[in-house]
Structures are given as C-alpha cells and as structure tokens.
C-alpha cells in the first residue's frame, strides 16, 4: 500500500505515537490538571528475555483475571479482555470531573521470537500486573559441548 494514502485512523495512531514521544521527552510534572488526559494505550506492556524464557508484563490494574483471554497463535501472543468503567452512570446524582482511566475492551499483540515454545506458558495476575512467561525451546537453550 502506498504510504501516501494512509487511512485517517493511521494518522491518529501516528499522532498518538508522537504524543507519547513528547510525553517521554517532556514528562508530566507531578502536579497536573485534574482534567488532563493520560492518552496511553492499555495495558502498558514491557517485554524482556532471559536465557530460558520470554517475559511479558502487562500493567492492567482492576481486571477480573478470569475475564482475560490470552492466546498464542503462530508466534503471536494476544492479550484481550475488558475493563468496565467504575464511574457512576449518568442520571445518578453525581458529577464526573476526571475520566482518564481506560475502560472498554482491549487487545494487545506481542510478536514472540522464533525460539519461544507456545506449549509452555505460565501466566499470573497480581496487584494489577499480568505476568506471562513463555519458555524457550530446549533446542535453543545455550549448552556446553564437551570435547571428548
């Protein structure tokens, strides 16, 4: 596809990316307007590797672990789920001042390296952090070769 003819959705994705870059260079100070938007994706992901595994950490607070759907298909790890809004519904006698926390359904995809073994995956959810550990294949582990 010609990069000159991107859909407008791509343009917004680009703008979001630029915004997050700006946030990194000029981090928000501790005091902010109570109405400001954080404007980040949900959940925030960190990916790391160890010699024996690939570690994915998703910062996904306030979820029901049973509602999380984690799948691995052809080297893609997909984390999907939904977070319900905890704001009062309109009509109740209340006023909403800030609505920065993500609500709705989400889906994030991580491309796993070739040597990840989709058969050996462990996932845990604690304090709002989802940790997924995908073991690497035995054949790809570093090993010492003895000289006879």
């Amino acid at each position: 596809m010609n990069p000159m003819f991107r859909s407008s959705a791509d343009l917004f994705a680009e703008l979001n990316r630029m915004q997050s870059l700006l946030d990194q260079v000029f981090p928000a100070t501790g005091t902010s307007s109570i109405r400001s938007m954080a404007g980040t994706t949900f959940p925030v992901l960190n990916v790391g590797t160890t010699p024996a595994s690939v570690e994915v950490q998703a910062l996904a607070p306030g979820l029901d672990p049973s509602s999380l759907e984690i799948t691995i298909d052809r080297g893609l790890l997909v984390i999907a789920g939904e977070r319900r809004s905890e704001l009062p519904t309109s009509g109740e006698r209340s006023t909403v001042y800030a609505h920065e926390r993500f609500s709705g359904s989400f889906r994030r995809v991580v491309s796993l390296p070739e040597d990840a073994d989709p058969a050996r995956v462990e996932a845990s959810y604690r304090d709002g952090v989802l940790r997924i550990s995908v073991a690497k294949r035995e054949s790809s582990l570093p090993r010492r070769i003895e000289v006879n």
């Binding site: 005091t31 960190n46 990916v47 790391g48 306030g62 920065e100 304090d127 709002g128």
Partner: protein
C-alpha cells in the same frame, strides 16, 4: 485547632521534601467523581502493594506516592518497554468542605479507591420555610 495541626504537619513535610530529591515518577491516570456525600478518586497503580503506597494530606494538598514492584527474573533483559519508572506520584488540591480526617482508602488489584467525605455542614440540606 485543626488548622494549627495542619500547619505543623505542612512544615514538617516541606523539610522532608527538601531532603529527598524528587525522583522521576509516572503520573497515574485517575477517575474523579462526586456525589452528595463525598468525592471518590480512583487511581491506576499497577504493581503497588499496600505498604508501598503513601497517601498524605498536607494542608489542602492530597499527595499520592507509590512504588511498584519490578517483578520478573533477575537475569531478564528488557527488549521493549512502555512502562518507564516503577514509581507513581500525583497531587491534588482539595477544597475546604472536604473532611480530610475521614478519608478512606482501598487498594485492590492495583486500583486505589479513595473516598473523601464532605463535612456535615457542607452536605446539601433542605431548608424549611416557616410560616410567619
């Protein structure tokens, strides 16, 4: 009397703030809503355990500070990172009618729920018109 106490605590806080240089921290996203009895604040603090969360009221400023556990194996090498600092900090200015002595805090699955009740005198009440 409560005013004098607040002034005292605020001077103690500013001293400790001078001693500790401020570390870089993430500003956590919040939801804030108000009903007749209280203001509720929800904040996303993933990875924070109860003893790592510090909430204080300094004069009319509410300060949230928390440290997240950086889990994962020791020998892990980060290849992709969106979360930058394992610390959170945010502060809010409270208004006078809020009863800071009765703030309730609950931390569950990385979400903090703060309930700040309004002082009795500030709650809406019906004023009866007397026939005269």
């Amino acid at each position: 009397m409560s005013n004098a106490m607040q002034t005292q605590s605020s001077s103690a806080m500013s001293e400790s703030a001078v001693r500790q240089p401020q570390q870089r921290a993430v500003v956590p996203p919040v939801d804030v809503f108000e009903d007749e009895a209280s203001i509720t604040l929800l904040a996303d603090l993933p990875g924070v355990q109860r003893d790592q969360l510090h909430i204080r009221v300094d004069g009319d400023t509410l300060v949230l500070e928390a440290t997240a556990l950086t889990g994962g194996p020791e020998n892990m090498e980060l290849v992709y990172g969106e979360a930058q600092f394992p610390a959170y900090r945010r502060q809010f200015t409270l208004s006078r009618e809020l009863d800071t002595a009765r703030i309730e805090a609950q931390l569950r699955d990385g979400v903090l729920r703060l309930t700040i009740p309004k002082a009795e005198a500030a709650r809406p009440r019906r004023i009866d018109v007397q026939a005269g």
